[in-house]
């Protein structure tokens, strides 16, 4: 397939070739792709590339898209200054 130099994860600058490479090494889950390539670990937390990564993984491994489990999401889901968190702690005291 062409366009392997397409940037899939815009935050971490991960290309389609990077993702296919780890899949060729035997990766079959979204979490594994994320941890090996960092796709989805950048500032937007996979909001932009998640579906694209799922599509590539589904196509390359012949797994139906709806059966792929999404990668684990953890808070904070968007960029926060650390001060926001420390302020909350102070208010609770």
């Amino acid at each position: 397939m062409k366009n392997d130099d397409l940037v899939i994860c815009r935050c971490e600058e991960v290309t389609q070739a990077d993702i296919k490479e780890v899949i060729n090494q035997g990766v079959t889950t979204m979490n594994e792709v994320k941890r090996l390539t960092r796709a989805g670990m950048g500032l937007c937390q996979g909001k932009t590339c998640g579906r694209l990564v799922a599509g590539i993984l589904s196509g390359e491994t012949n797994q139906p898209l709806q059966e792929l489990k999404p990668s684990t999401s953890r808070a904070p889901t968007r960029v926060l200054p650390l001060g926001t968190l420390s302020k909350t702690t102070q208010d609770d005291d």
Binding site: R10, C11, E13, L43, C44, K47, T48, V79
Partner: protein, 112 residues
């Protein structure tokens, strides 16, 4: 350009005219509009350069999800300019890399 008369949202309300300082230059804006809206209206397309490849990025999703339009606003890096309201006198800088503190001369060397 700005959309002055939107087919669904109607006419744009005229708001107070303010001035942003963008990379040292004065850029006109309307109070409370998205910083990105003022920058696009002023003709700017590049808001930041990426950390690894030093590629230019600007407005992509324009609704606060993709983080492509992040700039340094009043000294704070990684501010989403498409959802951050413009205020008079805001100091805005092109962000290079993750924190924006990476020297711009690297950028010039790598692009040449």
């Amino acid at each position: 350009m700005r959309i002055e008369d939107h087919p669904i949202l109607g006419k744009t309300e005229r708001r107070e005219r303010i001035t942003l300082k963008v990379d040292g230059a004065a850029v006109p804006a309307f109070e409370g509009e998205a910083i990105a809206a003022a920058l696009i209206a002023s003709g700017r397309r590049v808001f930041r350069y990426t950390a690894k490849r030093r590629e230019p990025r600007g407005v992509f999703c324009a609704l606060g999800r993709c983080t492509d339009c992040m700039m340094i606003v009043n000294g704070q890096p990684n501010v989403r300019t498409c959802v951050t309201p413009a205020r008079d006198g805001m100091v805005i800088q092109t962000q290079v890399g993750r924190r924006g503190g990476e020297a711009t001369h690297d950028l010039e060397t790598e692009n040449s």
